[in-house]
Symmetry: C3
Subunit: 398 residues, 3 copies
């Protein structure tokens, strides 16, 4: 057997991830360390096999349903790629951006689209308190459908971004970090600066900063969350970050200074988001159909943002990071000064220098999603990886 | 060989369905009893094999074209599921909801999308006298294309709902009934109430009630069509129902009383539809581009509907059915009192009690569609079922 | 081995098309005669194998990305068919019709959609000087992505119509001509009339007439380009046509008389297009966001068109062609007098007589696209064709 593949299998043999079988993926902090490492390992293994031109199709037929409540190119293509890699055909369910009716309608729709669905990927990040709850409702509905004999299989739910977490993004970010620093064992004591940055647009989701502090505090790193006053994230997630840091031997702290966060940082993630309280307010305004209120809030938020144009990832700030060479992260697309906007999150020369690493960071996402599906669908992943290698079907007849 | 699969094959061996090969599926009453039973049997066999994790892909490549002239989630996903189950990739042709130009354009488009199409599924239910005719035009065009050497194969046409019938829905309803009552042989003398019900929305298609009376009269059952005066369905379909009933040893009659229909019924199907004459008028108004006339008609119809809010499937009415336990059917989504609307087709507690059976009813549709395709594409279905079992490719590497 | 397939392989053995491997397809005149013949030969071979029910899937998984900047049914379905034939699943990237931002955004999007993309098909014909340039930018971006380790494979770029050429259309037209005249060796001295024709619509792309004179001058034929004064095509493409004609022993000339072009023609291709200079002006107006200017230009162009309603492919003109039986070509849909418009490009009786050949002409496009992909993805096409025959997987279990 191929040695590299064997090494992945050996690693898996040491991990306990039984609970992932037939299970969903909502939030990273609902998973154990072993489970997260299993995702990383399977992601690497699937990528390696694809590079070796070995097909990893575990489905002869079956559908992957994508349900996006918000425009998306990157995540949509990542999900489509992951499904295709495993043999599932993607079908999009287009429900528009409206706040969907809950209860009866969700239960019914979830079952109606799932007769041959093996996975459902949902992006629902616009409404605080709604997205994650909606995903749970879908999951509960299809599990009931399975128990009642309506469905022949339970579709796995993969959170493609909710109001709380963006697990496929943050896991891809994390896998990029692991590869960059040469292994998870080299991360202890590294300083991560998750910082707010100015953007001329408004209402960007909180799921990335929340996902980052909820995940990166688990590896013994020193995680700093920086933002201007008034841009607080969900307090529950901060609690998670604190507990994680304590458990992993790292630290978590908050600051209102970007310079403080960048000082000697090994990793920087400067990115705009909207204040949690404002997003909560917006959700209520939408619920009340108060379009005047929504417009007013938008105006206020844009004005508030404009007070913080100095929150930008400049060359000057980058120089203050560890050896002036911190790893710059972003979920893309970034607001780049003088390129996609006048003033934005990052100076063009900084972005330019990190373009290739940024693209690599993004390239892990399809494999992370595929790994989440794989671990939910396959009872003995080690055996199946072995079987796929033995089967040796070329992905591409070159 | 697996005994259950053998039983399906044995059943098929007794049926004559030769004419289905390389043929289309437009209306149930254009098919013989044997042909319908073949569809049910193949649907059950495909479902059984999927449950046994046996791949039923009969296509390595090929397209299934879906052409919906009306919004659809359920039927669209059922068609996509059926195609995927057999190995076809779905491509949607989006032609909007406009009344499409006929003649030259249909012929040309039908051929242009069919170079690698094995199936074309069409939903075109909005215009009386048009939908079914359009499907025939498409079918004729691609058959000519095949004869002329333009196409290498004849795409099978599957009617996913027209102005006359909704065969995939009604066949799924019927298969649900057959399973519920433990076999087609137990249906003789059962009373079916296909009744109109109030809905606050307007212009619902006639294809379901028409499809139901055109199909369910073929099993020796006593079919009653109930609606307020003025909600007549197409007279031609009523003629079909009468003839069917006579031939099958059942009965068909009409009433203007919902209570009369429900009395001692074994099966109830309360569902809103628009009067046939009004739909014919609307089609003409659309043809003339008379938007004022359309608005006026809509107003009149909503007012007319509102006179019949008492046509609702209540608990009280349900108590009058056979043992108070009639099987409640609906094509979904239903207008549920106090859930999806104030007053609607059914009381919430009734719907709630039948939710699981309703979802099961819907779950037959993908298999019914797949069976229609299978019977059109496979010359010797029994042999192919056997071969698929012997091939034994798992659908999913668990 | 099958004799016909062996003949295709023998033909390929005599051709040099090494440079097509891992390469893109932008313009026909960037390819050698051998390379074009290889495309024709593979297209014929793939079609033949499909007719013999032999699967030609060379991909177990992988995506084909389609990116259309303009509405399309024919080309979209042709691309989807080609991808499906080879085993790729199509994912559409919908970027709207706007002139997309170039530079950073193109580079990023190109990589983000390509993690598992084996082919990218682009249609971008609306803006002079932009479409082809955009395709090159995408190709450059993904090649860099591959070199930088972002992508595991290089997606092949296929030009599905740009501002300069429409290679998949013109190659399909040409393959139709070759079959019609019984082989490329019978084309010397044949007269081709590529002529402008009146259409009541405005702004039709120049890529078809340009593609035709750029391609059909390579086979020793006498190509005449006819149009009213003011409807000139890109001068650079005319230069290409002249050089091609000189090299192939044919001729290329221009005329302002449709009658002159039709006289004794073996092949006629009457089709509307917009003047090159006007399209260039329109591109600038769009760039400036001058919607008033665009409206004014549209009015002018429609008025200009209306002066040339006599440029129509009539029965009378057809009589003047070789034996009155020239092969009539069109990329479809045509503007047919009294059918799709009052006055248009062709008389109904002429179109009617050529309908079947026209549909056949169109039927080559999926195979031409598949051949372009095949030659880019397969290092030894002859060996792979042989291997596919030996594998003998039926496309369809009949």
């Amino acid at each position: 057997m191929d040695q590299k593949l064997q090494a992945y299998i050996d690693k898996l043999n040491k991990l306990n991830f039984k609970e992932m079988y037939m299970n969903d993926f909502f939030l990273t902090w609902e998973k154990t360390d072993d489970e997260l490492e299993a995702v990383f390992t399977i992601a690497d293994a699937l990528r390696y096999m694809r590079e070796q031109n070995i097909s990893t199709k575990i489905f002869e037929s079956g559908l992957g349903i994508s349900l996006f409540r918000d425009n998306s190119t990157r995540t949509r293509f990542s999900f489509a790629s992951a499904c295709n890699l495993l043999g599932l055909e993607v079908q999009d369910l287009d429900e528009g951006k409206s706040q969907i009716a809950h209860g009866e309608t969700v239960r019914e729709t979830a079952n109606m689209i799932s007769f041959m669905a093996d996975v459902i990927g949902i992006r629902d990040d616009m409404y605080i308190g709604k997205g994650n709850a909606y995903m749970h409702e879908v999951s509960k509905s299809v599990r009931e459908g399975y128990q009642d004999g309506v469905l022949e299989q339970i579709p796995t739910l993969v959170n493609l971004q909710c109001d709380i977490d963006h697990p496929t993004q943050c896991m891809a970010d994390m896998l990029h970090i692991i590869h960059h620093f040469g292994g998870v064992e080299n991360l202890k004591g590294k300083k991560v600066a998750m910082t707010w940055a100015y953007s001329p647009s408004y209402g960007k989701p909180l799921s990335v900063p929340q996902g980052v502090i909820g995940l990166m505090t688990r590896f013994g790193m020193d995680v700093v969350l920086a933002h201007p006053e008034g841009y607080e994230v969900m307090p529950e997630v901060e609690e998670v970050a604190k507990k994680n840091a304590a458990a992993s031997g790292g630290t978590y702290r908050k600051t209102n200074s970007m310079a403080d966060a960048f000082q000697d940082a090994d990793i920087v993630y400067p990115k705009s988001w909207a204040p949690f309280a404002a997003m909560e307010k917006r959700t209520n305004l939408y619920g009340e159909g108060d379009s005047e209120g929504i417009k007013k809030l938008e105006k206020e938020l844009l004005a508030q943002n404009a007070n913080h144009k100095d929150w930008c990832c400049t060359e000057e700030l980058m120089k203050t990071t560890k050896d002036g060479k911190a790893l710059y992260l972003h979920c893309l697309p970034a607001d780049i000064n003088g390129v996609s906007c006048e003033d934005g999150e990052v100076e063009a020369s900084v972005f330019d220098r990190y373009r290739t690493p940024l693209y690599k960071e993004a390239s892990f996402k399809p494999y992370v999603i595929a790994a989440m599906i794989f671990l939910s669908k396959v009872k003995d992943p080690q055996a199946v990886l072995k079987a796929l290698e033995e089967r040796g079907t070329p992905r591409w007849t070159k």
